[in-house]
């Protein structure tokens, strides 16, 4: 049972797992009680599980926990204090979420693109996550202000 120390949302967290291949998604959700990151497909098709690892967008459903050691992991819970990230504000201003389940992944995807210096329409073409509720039109509007 290996033990790993990860930096999640600015804090060092130590977890013991059955093997280092456990995806980061389940470490976050089940071991660290950070349930904002969602499971949708487990096969890197939907994007609901997107987090930032050293500022890069990663699909945590296929990202081994052992690969996150020594890196900074940011989840939706750690994106900002008081929903102050520009993407979160734009999401509220445009009343984007319906059921909301896909939105942490959407917002983290956009946050990653912004971190890479991308803006507006550039981000629009990068966001490909699935939203079964079909909030794409408002997502586009929200991104256009970023």
């Amino acid at each position: 049972m290996p033990t790993y120390t990860l930096n999640v949302n600015g804090q060092n967290r130590t977890v013991t797992v059955s093997d280092g291949g456990m995806p980061l998604l389940w470490v976050l959700r089940d071991l660290l009680n950070l349930t904002g990151t969602k499971y949708g497909c487990g096969i890197e098709v939907c994007g609901a599980c997107t987090v930032l690892v050293d500022g890069q967008r990663e699909h945590s459903c296929v990202f081994d926990v052992s690969s996150a050691v020594g890196k900074n992991v940011v989840t939706i819970e750690g994106l900002s204090a008081n929903r102050s990230h520009p993407a979160q504000k734009a999401w509220i201003d445009n009343q984007v979420p319906q059921c909301g389940y896909c939105q942490p992944g959407m917002i983290m995807t956009v946050a990653g693109a912004m971190k890479a210096g991308h803006r507006g329409s550039e981000i629009q073409s990068e966001v490909k996550n699935l939203c079964v509720c079909g909030t794409y039109q408002r997502i586009k509007q929200a991104i256009s202000s970023l």
Binding site: C41, G47, S80, W91, C99, G100, V132, C133, Y136, Q137
Partner: protein, 746 residues
């Protein structure tokens, strides 16, 4: 805390818990008069609380699955209570949750019903509460003239003296009064909340990860269970598998009474749940677990080709319904028949259009997979945490499974990561309760995506055969229409009447067009694949059949599809919606080569909806450029929420029309994850324009308010197929357009 309940008037319960509390019944699919009949401790499902600290709380029994119904209800309440919408906190109630007294029967959230069914009862309740608070203020001030009092945002002012009293200040006194009859409502022309695009209350929690869905419930000492069903519908467990050494338990799970559909008969053991200490390890153990299943004797007949062959046979040859008879699957029901024989009238037609349309089974594919968390202590309690659309049915189920009393059970409804009808079913709840009873510790049951796709209760497949005649002047002189599809209500044990399954034939009768003779029939298809309520239900099937055929008739009559419809619709509301859609969709503006538009109109849940879809491309690849949607729902509470629902419905309709299909082989569903079930991605989103027909100047209680949540779906597929015909000359009579599409990774 004084929770004495004063039920001086049956419509409301009044309590002085924490200030002032008014409990009442909001109906679901009941008629309003039924809901009016009684507010008893076990019936009340909604509470308005006004605290002595001026807090205002609305406790709702319905579920929030993204349709904005919590906000809609608070918005309605704000109007007649005369307070700012932002002051009302909404709280998820549920059966047997104490707040302040039991919220008895929660509402089952189905049929686009929450806002529309509750509009008038909620307004009446708010107005009664307001008048009770004002009466308390009148007593305090010592002036019996009601006209001397007015309210601004929850502050009561006595004009002659200038005295002001907040609702909180008189809440305790108001709770001792009896609720007035027919308290006056705020006139439509002074509305401050109803009809405004106010911001939804659930959105902030949905942008920071704090919204808790079913899958997010975490209880102290909780263990994790992962379901593994027999891959084939109708199959059963042959032998209990050996528990893997690193797991806590392997629990055989059976079909609980009332939760099984089609092949799933009560008590059959059709799954096992593997229990471990976290989702991932348990899921891996479940995948590796070797389980022996016994397939049903008819497994070889449970495949697409056989289902289609059965449907084709029944389209021409089915045994008519006999009143009081057995009427087994395969029975022909007459939904609607004119006095004139429509089949005979076809012989007099100048032109006959004969077409067969087919639709596949379609999965719900809610973004959040099914899950349910249960904390069970034998003989003591059972707390259930579920993303359910049916808290009321869940309560009854838990009583029957555990033998506990209702008072020992709590049903906590979480946010739903999409409901779409699937979470109105309770199979996953019954499984979680069974596991909790076996392991006797808090447990969360998780359905991996593959289980969610392969153990759904699908939109029914359908084969529609329509044969329609035009007379010499292009008028429809004979309309015959037969839909063959499995019965949703039949699989739920309903005894069908002479017209058959209302869920199957809805939107195929009472068409708005001036036709001559007509005969509309439905045949119950015998396929035992479980079917269920899928967003807009029968309307999503029949509107495709009807509006595709109307387009074929327009083509046969060499008429413009919009004009053809226009000339045959008489109802002014339908005409106005059709005209508005044509205008919003730029119908009369010519398009460049390689682009085309299609139009369709229909109805569901009491609303009228029309769409114009504009596409470009060719038979091999099309792009959806623009969709115009117009709805007449009589009265909209929040136009921004209506827009969101319609646009979302368009996406849902597109996913199903272009790609949606579940196939079966030996009773096993073939599409197991999103990679085999393509959906559109954000970069493929068309521009969607919506228009809501204006609210009435003075709303009339006798006119039904229509639904919104499911209305974007039914007209999409036919409008798309009609545009495709215009673009390519090819009539797409079989859905989906691209049955073999796959979806690559991100």
């Amino acid at each position: 805390m004084d929770t004495a309940i004063n039920s001086s008037r049956r419509k409301f319960l009044v309590s002085s818990a924490g200030g002032f509390a008014l409990g009442f019944v909001l109906p679901e699919l009941l008629s309003i008069s039924e809901a009016d009949a009684a507010a008893t401790g076990t019936q009340v499902n909604t509470w308005l609380n006004i605290g002595t600290d001026n807090s205002i709380t609305l406790t709702v029994g319905a579920s929030e699955m993204g349709q904005g119904s919590f906000s809609g209800l608070a918005q309605i309440m704000a109007e007649d209570l005369m307070v700012d919408f932002a002051r009302i906190a909404t709280v998820q109630g549920g059966p047997t949750l104490a707040n302040p007294a039991p919220v008895g029967s929660a509402i089952n959230t189905v049929g686009s019903s929450v806002t529309r069914r509750n509009y008038w009862p909620l307004r009446d309740a708010a107005a009664s509460a307001r008048e009770m608070l004002i009466q308390a203020a009148m007593a305090r001030v010592g002036d019996a003239a009601r006209a001397n009092f007015s309210v601004t945002n929850g502050v009561i002012e006595h004009a002659p003296s200038g005295t002001t009293l907040t609702y909180g200040a008189v809440a305790a006194a108001a709770a001792l009064l009896s609720a007035p009859v027919n308290a006056p409502l705020v006139p439509d022309n002074t509305f401050k909340a109803i009809g405004r695009p106010l911001r939804r209350v659930d959105i902030p929690a949905k942008v920071d990860g704090s919204a808790k869905y079913g899958i997010d419930v975490r209880l102290p000492g909780m263990v994790y269970a992962v379901i593994k069903h027999c891959p084939n519908f109708g199959g059963k467990l042959a032998a209990t598998p050996v528990k893997p050494s690193n797991m806590i338990a392997v629990v055989p799970v059976s079909v609980a009474a009332g939760t099984g559909r089609g092949t799933e008969t009560t008590s059959m053991v059709n799954a096992v749940a593997v229990v471990g200490s976290n989702t991932w390890d348990t899921w891996q153990a479940a995948k590796r677990l070797s389980v022996k299943w016994t397939l049903p004797p008819n497994a070889s007949a449970l495949n697409d080709a056989q289902f289609l062959a059965d449907a084709q046979r029944l389209a021409t040859n089915a045994t008519p319904y006999v009143a009081g008879g057995a009427n087994p699957p395969g029975t022909l029901y007459t939904v609607e028949a004119s006095a004139t024989d429509a089949k005979a009238a076809l012989a007099n037609s100048a032109k006959v259009v004969d077409a067969t349309y087919t639709l596949p089974y379609v999965a719900h594919a809610c973004m959040e997979v099914l899950s349910c968390t249960v904390d069970y202590v034998p003989g003591v309690k059972c707390d259930v945490y579920a993303p359910t659309q049916s808290a009321r049915s869940v309560l009854a189920l838990v009583v029957s499974l555990t033998g506990l009393k209702e008072s020992q059970i709590k049903i906590n409804t979480t946010y739903l990561g999409g409901g779409l009808g699937r979470k109105a079913e309770t199979d996953f709840v019954s499984q979680a309760v069974q596991v909790a009873m076996a392991v006797k510790r808090p447990v969360q049951l998780f359905w991996p995506r593959e289980e969610d796709f392969t153990r759904d209760q699908y939109r029914p497949m359908a084969l529609i055969h329509a044969k329609v005649g035009l007379d010499v002047s292009g008028n429809v002189n004979a309309w015959t229409y037969r839909n063959v599809s499995p019965s949703i209500l039949g699989q739920r044990g309903s005894v069908l009447g002479a017209k058959g399954d209302s869920q199957a034939y809805e939107a195929s009768q009472d068409l708005p067009y001036a036709f001559g003779a007509r005969l509309t029939e439905w045949v119950s298809h015998p396929s035992p694949i479980p079917v269920g309520f899928w967003r807009s239900v029968g309307a999503s099937i029949n509107t495709f059949g009807v509006e595709s055929m109307i387009d074929e008739l327009a083509a046969a009559a060499r008429a413009d599809p919009y004009d053809f419809r226009r000339r045959r619709i008489t109802d002014p509301r339908w005409l106005a919606v059709l005209d508005a859609a044509a205008q919003l969709g730029n119908w009369s503006t010519p398009l460049p080569k390689g682009r085309a538009r299609g139009i369709a109109i229909g109805t569901a849940f009491g609303s009228i909806v029309a769409q114009v879809v504009e596409i470009s491309g060719s038979t091999s690849a099309i792009r959806i450029n623009r969709v115009a949607v117009v709805i007449d729902c009589y009265l909209s509470v929040n136009p921004d929420s209506v827009d969101a629902q319609l646009v979302g419905g368009v996406v849902h309709g597109l996913n199903a029309a272009l790609y949606g299909k579940q196939s079966f082989s030996q009773g096993a569903a073939q599409s197991r994850n999103f990679n085999r079930s393509r959906m559109i991605r954000p970069n493929e989103m068309p521009q969607v324009l919506t228009k809501i027909m204006p609210n009435p100047a003075v709303s009339d209680r006798s006119i039904a308010i229509g639904g919104v949540g499911e209305l974007g779906v039914p007209t999409l597929a036919p409008a798309l197929a009609n545009a495709y015909f215009k673009l390519t000359g090819v009539r797409q009579r079989s859905l989906p357009f691209f049955p073999n599409a796959t979806m690559g990774g991100l």
